[in-house]
């Protein structure tokens, strides 16, 4: 795996995989690769945190291993488990072949009897060190966070029956958080930090053109104008960048050439995901007002 040698190379490499990163994010990714420290990305849902890890894996030509956190996730689901059925089968076969029971017991705790979970796969990969994405860390419990602290600081795992396994090469670790709760300071201290905000108008238009170059420029401008306008409104869930891309894909699939009240009404579910938000946009004058503003603004 060849790692980029400058911030510019990181930005260019990500752009080659259709991810437009600014200088600040490029610097954070570059330092994360150089200093071999995990990168913690925080921001509202749908601003491109997970997409960064995917683009980074593509850029480095290594696999992406994703650990999706949830309430109640534990060490066993993240690291390893003993494959009990296989061990039982092994014992049965050894018994049938008349082997010494003591020898059988010793042969039970080998790496081949482990069910490898994402963290194990990342620390002991078969090829190049992968990109490990620990997604939505804020949804996990404090105990799991403390466990991660141990793994991410030493990049080693202790299996009582086998011993300590240390990573020969450290994986690239990206942690994401939607900020539903604060990640503990101890974990933050071990990571580089980057806050991802909603993109500005120019940046969002650039991203849309990068991701969907075949789309009519006037339609993409209208879409970005509309979404930027929605972000100024008091909504339950402000649409993120991923919603913009989903909506653009939906409009393209429908063969739409320009936004109209009818089209917006039919496809609003791609952008707004809460009933109250859709209801608040339900009044026809709201959509027509936004479309009017776009038309007046030259969109």
């Amino acid at each position: 795996m060849r790692r980029p040698e400058s911030v510019g190379a990181v930005i260019a490499g990500l752009q080659a995989h259709h991810y437009l990163a600014g200088p600040a994010l490029g610097t954070a990714v570059f330092l994360s690769l150089k200093l071999e420290r995990p990168l913690l990305l925080e921001g509202e849902p749908g601003v491109g945190k997970t997409a960064l890890a995917q683009a980074l894996a593509q850029m480095l030509h290594v696999p992406l291993i994703r650990l999706q956190c949830y309430e109640g996730i534990d060490r066993e689901s993240a690291l390893y488990e003993w494959n009990y059925p296989r061990q039982l089968l092994h014992i049965r076969l050894r018994e049938l072949s008349g082997e010494d029971p003591q020898f059988t017991e010793q042969s039970l705790y080998r790496e081949e009897f482990l069910l490898k979970r994402p963290l194990y796969e990342a620390i002991r990969p078969e090829g190049d060190p992968p990109v490990l994405l620990i997604d939505e860390i804020d949804r996990s419990d404090d105990e799991f966070e403390a466990f991660l602290l141990e793994v991410l600081s030493e990049f080693q795992i202790s299996i009582p029956e086998i011993g300590t396994l240390k990573a020969t090469q450290r994986p690239v670790v990206i942690l994401t958080s939607n900020r539903t709760r604060d990640v503990h300071d101890a974990l933050k201290r071990r990571c580089l930090y980057q806050w991802l905000d909603y993109p500005s108008y120019a940046r969002e238009r650039e991203i849309l053109r990068e991701r969907m170059p075949q789309m009519d420029p006037s339609l993409s401008t209208q879409i970005v104008h509309f979404v930027q306008n929605l972000r100024q409104r008091p909504l339950e869930k402000v649409p993120g960048l991923s919603e913009t891309l989903d909506w653009a894909a939906a409009l393209e699939a429908l063969g739409v050439l320009a936004l109209s009240e009818q089209v917006v009404e039919q496809t609003l579910g791609c952008v707004l995901k809460y009933r109250d938000d859709i209801m608040s946009m339900g009044a026809p004058q709201v959509v027509s007002q936004i479309l009017g503003e776009i038309a007046a603004g030259g969109g």
Binding site: T27, A28, L31, K34, L35, D182, K188, R189, W195
Partner: protein, 373 residues
């Protein structure tokens, strides 16, 4: 990297420490090494490196940007000031506001008099303006729903308590023993399991909000917080007290903040009076009756200045502590420079409450609420 540049980084790091950043000499060394790695010594290049290494939250980022702008201006000689070598306080003034942002002025004694009889919600409190107040005070047309503390509060999960009822699930820690036995009846061994998990219920939280004269400067801030809190999915009850006890939960449930503000202060007639915490707490235990269970959290929002007898207060607090899950004291002055709990009532509160949390700003309130989860 040159020694002088490294020294400047260390000065910035020390100054940031006075603003609440947790930075050691290793962080400064790592920053110097990282700047050498990127080879970008421009202002924005160094800024991006330091932001990635030293910042650990969105709020810190806002503060860091401003401190860095100030630091850069000082280095460029744009500000007429001498930098004392290795000293921190030179950043404490934090001037140089960014364009488009305005610092809100908090209520000082002179200004507050004109708001005392007013029904408008004032986004302010004593002390330095926090980032959310900066946003609220700016004329950018932000609605309250867009304020960081509101977004943060809304995003917190509801406070729950484990219920005794169970529900069937595919994977759970508990067995539905009766079903397992029933379904496997007549078989030689148990071949199938049915699992359950406990069903959670909302944890009742009861706020006792001191609205006496000594808490005058914090009234509007607590109103904002509690008004928003009762509109979340939590089981929250709010009582104000000064010399009497008033249940204002229904008034706070009014959606329009102005209307709610008016209703609360129309109903609570004893605002800005003295504080009789012991008699109020006794009245509360009598009025809440069986609703106050050992699963309830009781939050006392007060500054600890009380006119009643300390012995009575100790007795009633001890009783409340036993009858509730947790008794928490939210103290608006806690954590401020030079403040210590000195009053007899304050000491009794600190002794009998399970925890004392700082609640001097809206961000503190949200953090204290999160800690209760």
């Amino acid at each position: 990297m040159e020694d002088r540049a490294a020294e400047n980084l260390w000065i910035l790091a020390r100054a940031l420490r006075t603003l609440g950043f947790s930075l050691s000499i290793q962080d400064a060394v790592l920053a110097a090494r990282s700047v050498a790695l990127t080879q970008d010594l421009s202002l924005t290049g160094v800024h991006d490196v330091l932001a990635a290494l030293w910042v650990s939250s969105h709020e810190q980022r806002v503060l860091f940007d401003q401190a860095y702008a100030y630091f850069a201006s000082l280095l460029a000689g744009a500000l007429d000031s001498n930098i004392p070598q290795g000293a921190g306080p030179w950043l404490s003034g934090l001037g140089l506001p960014q364009s488009g942002r305005t610092w809100v002025s908090w209520i000082d004694t002179a200004k507050s008099s004109q708001f005392r009889t007013s029904d408008r919600t004032v986004y302010s409190h004593s002390g330095r303006a926090s980032s959310e107040e900066v946003l609220a005070g700016s004329q950018s047309g932000h609605s309250p729903a867009e304020l960081p503390w509101v977004r943060r509060l809304d995003s917190l999960p509801a406070h729950q308590v484990r219920g005794y009822r169970r529900q069937d699930v595919r994977r759970g820690k508990l067995w539905n023993l009766s079903r397992v036995l029933r379904r496997n009846r007549g078989r030689a061994e148990i071949t199938a399991l049915w699992r359950q998990k406990r069903r959670n219920t909302l944890r009742p939280s009861l706020f006792l909000w001191d609205a006496s004269r000594s808490m005058d400067g914090f009234l509007s801030m607590y109103f904002q917080f509690l008004h928003r809190l009762v509109h979340t999915k939590n089981a929250v009850e709010v009582w104000t007290f000064s010399t009497r006890l008033t249940d204002v939960t229904a008034e706070l449930r009014t959606v329009d903040p102005k209307q709610a503000y008016r209703s609360v202060f129309e109903k609570a007639r004893d605002l800005r009076g003295g504080t009789l915490l012991a008699s109020v707490a006794e009245a509360l235990t009598a009025r809440t009756g069986n609703r106050l269970s050992t699963k309830s959290d009781i939050v006392l929002i007060t500054d600890g200045y009380d006119a009643g007898s300390p012995e009575d207060l100790a007795n009633i607090l001890s009783k409340m502590g036993r009858r509730s899950h947790r008794l928490i004291w939210w103290n608006p002055w806690l954590g401020r420079k030079g403040y210590e709990i000195a009053t007899p009532a304050g000491r009794i509160l600190a002794k009998h409450c399970d925890r004392v949390d700082a609640s001097g700003t809206l961000a503190d309130c949200v953090a204290a609420w999160q800690r209760l989860a």
